[in-house]
C-alpha cells in the first residue's frame, strides 16, 4: 500500500496542469481506506491532522493524499526527536466536514491548487478556523493553482485578506530562527539537481490569513513542497538542506499553532 501511495505521490507531483473540467468524484466518494480506518485516540496532545477535501482531480486518490502517509509519519518522527511534543506517531487524516475536526486544532493541507470545496467543507473549515484552528497549506505552484486556492479560501473566509508573512514574524522565530524562505523542490527535481520550481512558481512565498487580533489562521507555503522534503528525508539522493529547512519550518509551524 505504501508503494502505491508513493507512486500516487509522485503521480501527484508530475500530474501536469490542473484541469478546469468538471470536478471528479468527491473525496468521500472514493475508496480511501486511510480515512475510514484511521484510529482516533484521544489521549495524545498533538495530532498531525491532514485535511481530506474534495478536488477537481481525476483518479482513485484525492490530491489531499499527496505524499500521504509517509510524509506525515516521517515528519512526526522528526518532530518527536527535535521537540518534546507528545505527538501521535501515525497519520491522521480528517474530512473538513467532520464535526470532530475541531478536536484537532492543527491541520495540514497539500495540493490545494486542485481543491474544490463542497458547501459542508466550506462551513466546516470556516468554523474550524474561526474557533481557533490553524491550517498550514503546502505544495501548490504557479499562477493557476494560486488562483484556484485563492478562490476556494475566499469562500471559506471572504472577509479576510491573504497577506505576506514578514521575515520577522513569530512563526519564523518560535522554535528555529529562520531567515530565508527556501524553495523546496519535489523529490524528482531534488534528486536530479534540476530546477527547484514547478510551472511558473519560480519564487517561494510564505503568506497568511490573520484573524482580527493579528494571529495566523492560515499559513500558506506557496511554490514550495515541504511534504516531499519530509517524505524523502531518508533518501540519500535528496539534498539534506531542503529536508533540514522543511523540518525547521514545519516544527515552527506546529509550535506556533500550539501556542498563539
Amino acid at each position: 500500500m505504501r508503494a502505491a501511495l508513493v507512486v500516487s505521490g509522485f503521480t501527484a507531483l508530475f500530474a501536469g496542469t490542473p484541469t478546469s473540467a468538471a470536478p471528479g468524484p468527491r473525496a468521500d466518494e472514493r475508496d480511501v481506506p486511510a480515512i475510514q480506518d484511521a484510529p482516533r485516540p484521544l489521549d495524545r496532545t498533538f495530532y498531525f491532522t491532514r485535511a481530506a477535501y474534495n478536488d477537481r482531480r481525476r483518479g482513485p486518490w484525492g490530491s489531499w493524499a499527496t505524499d500521504y502517509p509517509k510524509a506525515d509519519i516521517q515528519f512526526l518522527i522528526g518532530v518527536k526527536r527535535l521537540t518534546i511534543i507528545d505527538a501521535y506517531e501515525a497519520e491522521h487524516p480528517m474530512r473538513l466536514d467532520d464535526p470532530d475536526l475541531r478536536r484537532y486544532p492543527f491541520l495540514y493541507a497539500v495540493e490545494v491548487g486542485r481543491m474544490a470545496l463542497t458547501p459542508p467543507e466550506i462551513e466546516g473549515l470556516r468554523t474550524y478556523l474561526l474557533a481557533g484552528g490553524f491550517l498550514v497549506v503546502d505544495d501548490f505552484w504557479g499562477t493557476y493553482e494560486w488562483a484556484n486556492f485563492e478562490r476556494e479560501i475566499r469562500q471559506v473566509l471572504p472577509e479576510y485578506q491573504i497577506v505576506p508573512i514578514p521575515m520577522d514574524h513569530p512563526v519564523l522565530r518560535t522554535f528555529y530562527d529562520i531567515h530565508e524562505i527556501v524553495q523546496v523542490p519535489n523529490v524528482w527535481q531534488g534528486r536530479t539537481g534540476g530546477p527547484t520550481w514547478e510551472r511558473d512558481g519560480y519564487t517561494p512565498y510564505l503568506r497568511g490569513i490573520l484573524d482580527d487580533r493579528g494571529r495566523v489562521m492560515v499559513l500558506i507555503s506557496f511554490n514550495s513542497d515541504l511534504g516531499d522534503a519530509w517524505e524523502w528525508a531518508d533518501d540519500p539522493f535528496y539534498p539534506l538542506p531542503y529536508s533540514n529547512y522543511a523540518y525547521q519550518i514545519g516544527v515552527n509551524m506546529i509550535v506556533y499553532g500550539m501556542s498563539r
Partner: protein
C-alpha cells in the same frame, strides 16, 4: 400585677427586701419567743394526743402541724421583725438621668408612639416622673448618642444621633458627677449600642463606685412586620471585570413565604436582581447576589429590598458597601512543560483583557523555552525563576504539564512559599507530567495543593477518562462558575458543555479544601476544580488537560464565550486578595463623619518578609482634594504592621495612600478608600435590646424597667447606699401576709377538728 400583689401582701415592694437587712426590734430576746412558741407547740401536741375521739393518728398529726404553724407565725410577729434599709437623704444627692438622643429613638414602636416621646414625656419639666424624682434628688439630665452633653430640658432632644455609645455615655456622666454625692444613674434607651466600644470597663467602674444604674428600656423587643438586610459580605478590592458573588443575609418578621426582590446597584445602576422567597418566621434567608464589576474606581454598591406594606422600618432595607474596583494589570506566570493547545487557548481566552497579563514560559524541547508576552528581553531569559525576588514579582503562577524533577528542591520550596509567604495564587493544571503523574506526591508542593496526590506505581497503565463536569453545591454559589448572568442560566450551560479529559486520577481533596467542579466517569467522581488557603495565599487544582475543548468542540457555537469567561474568572480569582508589599486597610470602609478610622498598613520587602523599621507615611485626600500626610507607627504587636488614625470631618470619599521606604529603597504603595456619610447604623438590629440593658442594671445593682413599669423608679432609686444616705427601719410584724397566714391556719385547724368530731 404580681408586683402589686406582692407589695400588698408583704407591705413593701420586693426591692425593699432585696436591699434591706432583717432585724428584730421586740424588747425581749428572740430566743424567748422561740422557747415560748416551742413550749406552746409541745402542750398542743400532748393535748391533741390525749383528747378522746375517733380521729386517726394522721388527723391528729395534721392538727398539731396546723396549730404549730399558727403559733410560729404569732411568735415571729412577737419578735418585732423589721428591715433596715439605706435611703437617700432628700435633696442631698444627685441623680444623673441619661436620655438616648440617637435616631433609633424616632422609631414608632411604642404603641404607635416614638420611643423618644416616652422618655421626653416622663422627664418633661412638668412630667410626673421628674417631679417625683425631684422631690428626693437633685436631678441632672444628659442627652447622649455618640457623644454626651448636659440637657436643660427634654424639649432640646432632637433624636438625630447617628450612633449610640452607651458605655461612653455612662463613663462620661460618672466622671462628670464624680465630685458630688451620686445616688445613681437612670438610663433611658433602646439599648442599640453600636459604637463598638466595650461596656465592661464602664460598668466595672460604676460598680466599684457603688453607683447603681437603673435602666428604662424603650421600644419593643420584636417588630411585628419588618424586613432587614443583615450581613453583606463584599470584597474590599476586586479586579475590574471580576464576577462577584456577595452573600446577603435577610432577616424578617411577619413576611414568611413572601417573595421579595433583592436589587444590587452600582452607583445607581442596577447590576443584579434576584427573587428571594423569605423563609418561615424566625429564620433568616442567606442568598448570593452575583454581578460583574465593570467600571473602575472606588464604588458604592447598594443592596436593597423594596419597602413592603406595613413595615416598621424602611431604612434597614438598604445596605451600602464600598468596593475598590482596581483597574490594574495582574501579572501571572504560566509555566508549561511541553507544547500544548492549552497554552494557545488560555492565551486567547484572556487576549484583550486589560487586567490580566499572562507571561508564558513554555518548554518546547529539552532546555529550550519559548517566552511569550514578556515585558523585556531579560524576563525569564534563564528559564523558570531561580530566586524568590524573580518569582515573587508575579501575583499568580500556573503550572502546566511539567514534571517535578524539572525543578530543584529549592525551586519547589520557593513555589510553595510563593503561596504561603508571598500570598500568591497557584493554579495547577492537569497533564501527563502534572500532579501525581509528574512526581509531585512527596514534594514541598504537595502540601500546598488542595488535592490528595497519589504516586503513580511504576509500570501502571496511563489513566485516561472523559468527564462530564458539573459544579458541586459549593461551586454553584462560587463566582468562578458563573458562566451566565444568572445562576439558573449558568447551570443550564454547565449541563450542556461537552466532556473534558483527565490524565490525573484525582478523587480526594485535603481537609479544609473546597471542591467546586467534579467530573463523573468510571471510578469517579473525580475532582475537576478545588482550592484551599495555604498560608497567606491560595492554591487551586484544575486537573483536566483540555479545557480548550470548550472553545473548539463542535458543540460550542463560535459566539459562545464559555471558555473565555471561565478562564477570565478563574485567573481573577487566582489573583484576588494577593498581597502587595504595602497592604493598606481601614477599620471601616463606610463611616459617619466624626468617627475615627484606624488605618493599618502591613509592609513587606521584595521577598515578602515583614519589615519593622520602615518609614511609612499615609497621605489622606479628602473629598475636596485637599491632602494631608501623617506618619504611621509600627504597632510593635505584629511584625510589619503600622497604624495611624484619622477622623473624616465631612461627607464624601477619602482616599488614603500609604507609602513605605526603608532607607533609600521604596517598599511600595498601598491605597484604600473610606466613604464618609450617613451609614444608617441606628436602623439596623433596632429592636429594644433588653438583654444588654438588664446586664447593665444587674451588674451595677440597679433595676430594669420598661415604659409600663417605670413609675416605680422614684421609690426604688431612693434605696441606695450611694451618696448621702440614712438607714430607715421598716416594720414587718404588721405585714398582711402574717395576718392572713394566722387566720388561715387557725381556720383550717378548726374546720378539721369539726370534720373529725374533736370540737
Amino acid at each position: 400585677m404580681l408586683q402589686s400583689l406582692a407589695g400588698f401582701l408583704f407591705k413593701y415592694r420586693p426591692v425593699v427586701f432585696e436591699r434591706g437587712d432583717l432585724t428584730f426590734t421586740a424588747p425581749w430576746p428572740v430566743s424567748a419567743a422561740v422557747v415560748s412558741g416551742l413550749a406552746l407547740i409541745g402542750v398542743t401536741a400532748v393535748m391533741y394526743a390525749r383528747v378522746p375521739g375517733a380521729a386517726t393518728r394522721t388527723d391528729r398529726l395534721a392538727l398539731i402541724a396546723l396549730r404549730a404553724g399558727a403559733i410560729a407565725v404569732l411568735a415571729f410577729a412577737l419578735t418585732g421583725p423589721a428591715l433596715m434599709i439605706a435611703t437617700v437623704v432628700p435633696q442631698q444627692n444627685f441623680l444623673g438621668v441619661l436620655i438616648d438622643d440617637s435616631r433609633s429613638m424616632q422609631i414608632a414602636d411604642a404603641g404607635g408612639r416614638r420611643r423618644g416621646a416616652a422618655a421626653a414625656d416622663a422627664f418633661a419639666e412638668d412630667g410626673a416622673l421628674l417631679r417625683a424624682l425631684g422631690e428626693r434628688f437633685k436631678v441632672r439630665l444628659f442627652r447622649f448618642s455618640e457623644t454626651v452633653s448636659r440637657l436643660d430640658s427634654t424639649g432640646a432632644l432632637a433624636y438625630a444621633g447617628r450612633r449610640t455609645d452607651i458605655g461612653g455615655a455612662l463613663e462620661s456622666v460618672r466622671r462628670d458627677l464624680s465630685a458630688v454625692p451620686l445616688a445613681g444613674l437612670v438610663l433611658l434607651t433602646d439599648g442599640g449600642d453600636n459604637a463598638g466600644s466595650s461596656l465592661t470597663d464602664p460598668l466595672l467602674r460604676l460598680k466599684a463606685d457603688r453607683v447603681p444604674v437603673h435602666v428604662v428600656g424603650l421600644g419593643s423587643e420584636r417588630f411585628d412586620r419588618d424586613i432587614e438586610i443583615g450581613r453583606v459580605e463584599t470584597p474590599r478590592s476586586v479586579l475590574q471585570g471580576t464576577s462577584v458573588a456577595v452573600e446577603v443575609t435577610i432577616r424578617h418578621a411577619g413576611y414568611g413565604g413572601r417573595t421579595v426582590m433583592l436589587n444590587v446597584e452600582d452607583e445607581g445602576r442596577i447590576v443584579s436582581t434576584r427573587e428571594v422567597r423569605l423563609p418561615r418566621e424566625g429564620e433568616s434567608a442567606t442568598v448570593r447576589a452575583h454581578f460583574t464589576v465593570i467600571d473602575p474606581g472606588a464604588r458604592v454598591f447598594r443592596f436593597a429590598i423594596p419597602t413592603q406594606d406595613g413595615e416598621a422600618l424602611s431604612e434597614n432595607n438598604t445596605v451600602e458597601a464600598l468596593i475598590d474596583v482596581a483597574d490594574r494589570r495582574e501579572k501571572i506566570l504560566y509555566f508549561e512543560g511541553e507544547p500544548r493547545f492549552e497554552v494557545k487557548f488560555l492565551r486567547r481566552a484572556i487576549d484583550g483583557d486589560p487586567n490580566l497579563h499572562v507571561v508564558t514560559l513554555q518548554r518546547t524541547a529539552e532546555n529550550k523555552f519559548l517566552r511569550l508576552d514578556v515585558e523585556d528581553s531579560t524576563e525569564l531569559v534563564a528559564g523558570f525563576p531561580r530566586t524568590r525576588r524573580e518569582l515573587f514579582q508575579y501575583r499568580g503562577l500556573i503550572l502546566g504539564s511539567v514534571e517535578a524533577s524539572f525543578f530543584t528542591h529549592d525551586q519547589l520550596r520557593m513555589i510553595a512559599e510563593f503561596v504561603s509567604v508571598r500570598g500568591g495564587g497557584l493554579l495547577a493544571l492537569g497533564g501527563r507530567n502534572a500532579l501525581g503523574e509528574g512526581g509531585y506526591a512527596d514534594t514541598p508542593l504537595a502540601d500546598a495543593l488542595p488535592v490528595v496526590l497519589e504516586a503513580t506505581p511504576a509500570g501502571s497503565q496511563p489513566f485516561f477518562r472523559e468527564l462530564s463536569i458539573t459544579p458541586t453545591p459549593f461551586g454553584r454559589a462560587h463566582p468562578v462558575t458563573q458562566l451566565r448572568p444568572t445562576p439558573e442560566a449558568s447551570q443550564r450551560r454547565w449541563d450542556s458543555l461537552p466532556p473534558l479529559s483527565m490524565l490525573n486520577p484525582i478523587t480526594a481533596v485535603k481537609p479544609g479544601a473546597s471542591t467546586l467542579l467534579r467530573g463523573d466517569a468510571d471510578g469517579g467522581p473525580y475532582v475537576v476544580l478545588a482550592s484551599q488557603r495555604y498560608g497567606r495565599g491560595k492554591a487551586i487544582a484544575f486537573p483536566v488537560q483540555d479545557s480548550w475543548l470548550w472553545q473548539m468542540h463542535a458543540d460550542i457555537p463560535l459566539e459562545d464565550m464559555t471558555h473565555e469567561t471561565l478562564w477570565r474568572q478563574l485567573l481573577r480569582w487566582l489573583v484576588s486578595g494577593v498581597a502587595d508589599q504595602v497592604m493598606l486597610t481601614a477599620s471601616e470602609d463606610r463611616v459617619d463623619p466624626g468617627r475615627e478610622v484606624v488605618m493599618t498598613a502591613v509592609v513587606s520587602d521584595s521577598g515578602y518578609l515583614r519589615r519593622n523599621g520602615a518609614d511609612v507615611m499615609a497621605t489622606i485626600t479628602d473629598p475636596t482634594g485637599e491632602e494631608r500626610t501623617i506618619p504611621m507607627q509600627w504597632t510593635v504587636e505584629r511584625d510589619g504592621e503600622y497604624q495611624a488614625r484619622f477622623t473624616p470631618e465631612m461627607d464624601g470619599r477619602y482616599r488614603i495612600d500609604a507609602s513605605a521606604r526603608q532607607g533609600a529603597t521604596s517598599l511600595g504603595l498601598g491605597t484604600t478608600f473610606v466613604e464618609a456619610g450617613d451609614v444608617g447604623t441606628e436602623y439596623f438590629d433596632a429592636t429594644m435590646r433588653s438583654a444588654t440593658l438588664r446586664r447593665i442594671a444587674e451588674e451595677t445593682g440597679g433595676q430594669f424597667y420598661t415604659e409600663a413599669t417605670m413609675d416605680a423608679l422614684p421609690e426604688d432609686v431612693s434605696f441606695t447606699e450611694s451618696g448621702a444616705t440614712v438607714y430607715e427601719q421598716r416594720d414587718l410584724w404588721d405585714m398582711p401576709i402574717l395576718l392572713f397566714l394566722l387566720i388561715g391556719l387557725v381556720a383550717a385547724e378548726w374546720t378539721l377538728r369539726r370534720a373529725r368530731g374533736l370540737a
